[in-house]
Symmetry: C2
């Protein structure tokens, strides 16, 4: 069933009856993003939240020197988007690009408002979802300041075990904030221990 | 009225009737943290969330080289704590120290569960609160990677206008991730433009 994964994701935090499940899934729009296609580019105002059914996307910015900085990889059973643009209606700074053909379900801002009104327990779902994302961002933000590149790489391998062979070394290096050359040296050093 | 500020903070996102206000404030505990005293130290399991009525606290970690990294300053009308320790019951990595005598209101984990049960619209309050914190953390985390020290300093002055003369240059430098000497040079350079 095409909504199985998202309903299972929701059921981690709240219980929906079949009628609520039907109402919720009726608000979702299914999309396929081709490999290397963009779900989002800087300058756009983001009007949806996205759940990844299958595939992998990278979320990144490009700085004034043209250097790419990967904020996250979004994989199956994860949520992605740009909460800031979604809420404030300011243009996004992010690129979100599919690294593989990716299947998503999107919920628009209008529909998320309808959802909160009709099924208020979704407030609880998002309260817990944002709480957990917040913890993950706080950990990452502190990590960038005070943790070594080696530990950041180990953390990457633990956080995204399914991605080690699906994402390029260049992208992994960008995510942990080092050059590909440095990552290559690091991996050699780690493998000879 | 001692609960005026916190009730105004809550009312930004949800409406409470007088009975709900009374129930909510009955769950809060008032505390005074003396200047330089600690609200939290590494190793403790954090069982409360904190609202700052008056004063200023700094939230920081100390890395393996003994260097202090300031994650945030918590001032009047802000919430602070360690959400990760609060939720997972793992020991905190943070110090939270009062830079001035500080008055807080704390809500325990047990009481926050009672609150969600008795007044479910607090799910909405926390949903929106966490959503906004998440945006602020995402911005900060991207900033540390891709924004110059000068821009981080300007951002600090905009985010915390009331703190410029209350927090030491050393602490401001730690927050923006540079040495005090570098911050001093930066300020000179910026003032001569």
């Amino acid at each position: 069933m095409e909504y199985e994964l998202i309903l299972k994701n929701i059921s981690r935090f709240i219980d929906l009856n079949p009628e609520e499940e039907n109402f919720y899934t009726s608000l979702l729009v299914k999309r396929i993003i081709g490999k290397k296609d963009f779900l989002m580019r800087p300058g756009e105002i983001i009007k949806n939240e996205y759940f990844i059914v299958k595939g992998c996307l990278k979320v990144y910015t490009i700085d004034s020197k043209g250097v790419e900085h990967i904020s996250m990889f979004a994989i199956s059973d994860w949520w992605t988007g740009d909460l800031s643009s979604f809420l404030t209606e300011q243009p996004t700074k992010y690129y979100i690009q599919a690294l593989e053909e990716t299947e998503i379900l999107q919920l628009s801002k209008e529909n998320s408002e309808v959802l909160f009104e009709k099924i208020p327990k979704f407030e609880r779902f998002y309260r817990i979802l944002y709480q957990r994302s917040l913890i993950s961002y706080i950990n990452r933000s502190d990590q960038n300041i005070s943790v070594s590149a080696e530990d950041r790489y180990l953390y990457f391998t633990q956080k995204y075990p399914s991605l080690l062979n699906r994402v390029s070394q260049k992208d992994i290096a960008s995510y942990i904030g080092v050059t590909p050359e440095f990552l290559s040296l690091l991996r050699k050093k780690m493998s000879t221990r």
